[in-house]
């Protein structure tokens, strides 16, 4: 008994420290973003903080933001999906191919999104039903579908001119592009589901203790399956967004998203072990990545430098995360 009482007081003390750690981590991320903005503001005083540039940054973050919003709950539930990049590639290639047949552009978008989502169903089936490790599964489907995208397109980039995609790109509501509105909406929706709904709570339960969730009557199969489908759906939508932004479809489009989506989620404080995380953190992390990319471009630094800075930031973020969970467990 004395033992457990000791443990109790210990973990209470640790909890207080953890709360500070938690705040530090989340606010630390925000601090990182603010410092970065200040830094680039002085590097490029007359342009960086203009309305136009802020919008440019946000538009640049659209595809990543949509995919990271869907990846976050998946990782919280104990899964992971590294195949999103290949879904982006396949979706854009499909869009290019189908538009070339003269099909209505609405139908093209719909079909591409359905195909993208079905890849998520495949991922989910393999992971949930066949019990294959999620990283291995999505690594496999990533390779498979990015290869397929290259085969379908013969490696060619197709330029796309279509009123629907132009509408996506150029429509503004109160000077704010519709793309920005979409990504903000998606993130807000993900945050709402995470915080306020039974589904959100069950995602944390499954990621935190799958057996406890199962023994409390929570379906530990349907929900993860759904999360894989949502993840692929987000990638398909991101593919459509990218086509409209770039005005072209290429099987290489997805490659840059291979790991950046997972990176954003982890940088945002979501635990790879599952059970812990938040879309709010992910949103800040996406902001950091987008700002970094924009700032580097304006300073005319090579994009490799960006990758290096990103890698360093990720390691630091994960170290902070592990230290705080060690503090809690000690």
């Amino acid at each position: 008994m004395r033992l457990s009482a000791k443990k109790q007081s210990k973990s209470e003390g640790a909890k207080k420290r953890l709360d500070i750690g938690n705040i530090l981590r989340r606010q630390g991320l925000l601090l990182m973003l603010i410092l970065m903005i200040i830094f680039f503001r002085f590097q490029s005083p007359e342009y960086f903080l203009t309305f136009d540039n802020v919008i440019t940054i946000l538009v640049g973050a659209t595809a990543l933001g949509i995919m990271a919003s869907a990846q976050t709950p998946l990782i919280i539930s104990g899964g992971i999906d590294v195949s999103v990049g290949s879904v982006v590639a396949l979706t854009t290639v499909m869009v290019g191919k189908l538009l070339a047949t003269g099909m209505s552009s609405w139908l093209v978008v719909l079909i591409s999104i359905v195909i993208g989502t079905s890849i998520g169903a495949l991922n989910g089936f393999i992971v949930v039903q066949l019990g294959v490790n999620p990283f291995i599964t999505t690594l496999g489907t990533m390779s498979f579908f990015s290869g397929l995208a290259f085969i379908l397109s013969a490696g060619q980039t197709v330029s796309i001119r279509d009123p629907l995609f132009d509408w996506f790109l150029y429509t503004k509501v109160l000077k704010v592009p519709v793309l920005v509105i979409i990504v903000v909406f998606v993130m807000a929706l993900a945050y709402f589901i995470e915080r306020k709904t039974v589904v959100g709570r069950n995602i944390f339960a499954i990621g935190g203790n799958r057996e406890a969730a199962r023994l409390s009557g929570i379906s530990t199969k349907m929900l993860p399956l759904g999360l894989y489908m949502v993840s692929s759906l987000s990638a398909a939508v991101a593919g459509v967004v990218l086509v409209s932004q770039l005005g072209s479809a290429s099987p290489q489009l997805g490659t840059s998203y291979l790991l950046s989506v997972v990176t954003a989620v982890i940088l945002g404080g979501t635990s790879l072990a599952g059970g812990r995380g938040s879309v709010a953190g992910t949103a800040i992390a996406v902001g950091i990545l987008a700002t970094l990319s924009n700032g580097f471009a304006q300073m005319q630094l090579p994009s490799y430098g960006q990758t290096t800075a990103l890698g360093a930031a990720l390691i630091v973020a994960v170290l902070v995360d592990q230290t705080s969970s060690k503090m809690k467990n000690s």
């Binding site: 709904t197 039974v198 589904v199 944390f204 203790n209 199962r214 409390s216 379906s219 809690k328």
Partner: protein
Amino acid sequence: MIANDQQDRARKSPILQLNSISKRYGGVQALSDVSLHVYPGEILCLVGENGAGKSTLAAIAAGLISPDSGKIIVDGTEVVLNSPRAAETAGVRLASQELQLCPELNVMTNVLLGHYPCKKIPFLVDYASMKRKAAERLESLGLEDIDLLQNVGEMPVVYRAFVQIARSLTPGAKVLITDEPTAPMSDIEATRLLKLLKTICDQGVGIIFVSHRLDEVLNIADRVLVLRDGKLVDEMSKSEGDKERIVSSMLGHTTIDSVKASSSVSADSEIALKVENLSTSNGISETNLTLKYGEILGVYGIAGSGRDSLGMTLFGCNKPTSGKIIVGGSELKLGSIKSTMDIGIGYVPAERRAQGLLLERSIKENITLAFLRKLSKLGLIQAKSEDVAGQLWARNLSIKTDNIENTVLSLSGGNQQKVLLSRWLLTGCRILILDDPTRGVDIGSKLEIYELLQNLAHNEKVAVLVISSDIEEVLKISDRIEVMRNGKITLSKTNPTQQEVARAAYLEDAS
């Protein structure tokens, strides 16, 4: 015969002596003033109820735990066994309860784990000599039939235990301690293991054998020591040993008042749950059971008796191979947790942390986990209803916390268990199955939980099924008791005595 034994022993001196060992864990005196000695070539069996101190004693002898006081003498020299390494140097070897092998490595690598022979160039393993050494080791134990190159993970459990023992018997072994090696084994497998132990003791090694199975203890032991509540209460030589004496020593002569407030269950109480000829692949065979509303039915059994599978199976965690579960006159869909919950059955699992709690989440979230759907509208959690439910049940069960938003990790074991109980009470289930509801719970919370269960059954008329590894608990709270052994019910009785329960759990086989 006895005289012979004693003469024989007098010639040898003990290879291992533990003198006046005491060990305290918090408020629990795990061992008090226990002394024992083992002679070379002798098999000493340690028996006792759960929590009697057997495993602690074995761990102290193996250097895993340091005693608070007492002396350890190996081969005439006093030693301090403050680490497994120290114990190994002294010649004391432990083949522990959980097999500690690398399942992906083959037999010879496991046997010589950490002691690989090297070639002249360092870091290069000499596989030829490794194979030879491993083969020699196995041969000396009469285990030539084990394939040196097979992966350990692919072998049946008894062979894994053999490999574990072979591995622990590095050169210089004087004493081998095995802690419940036969628990996961069938009788035939256990017999093979006992034969192996005989072989080892014939080579002059002293063996301390911890077991729950009295048959095998009497079969193999040269001497039997009985522990109860951390004290040595009986010692008998092979010729003196009999099961009745062991059981009565294990239990002591403390009369537990099995007299309870007269149970309110009359013969015509409505049947809540009826199990007919239930068999599973995980250790239950042809079991029949009836649970009535308003009663606490206690199910007692030792580890491996099938008692834990029973709870899991009734809750739909796994699909039985045959049999029926009837609730409220209709057959329950088997192997489905959802339909089991829908019909009003709740289940508090045995492993609080592994199977029950979301440790990093709040007390409130842990309480409402199984009922969240009902506390929501269109999938949206009604924050107010959830708060009210959490507050209410935290208060009803007097869960000690200043804020139900604190993580459940901040609670003591007893309060964590109350959180799990409230999770199911909140659902309003009419049938509640609990597996070891007071495991690792302090005595105060224990009594609170008992009171709660009794109130639940006798006043609220809930059907309560308590599965337990604690014989006193079962006797104390149950209106009726079923005892399981080898997957079968061996006793079904209202107010049995402790002796009857113990006999049925340890000795009798269902006819």
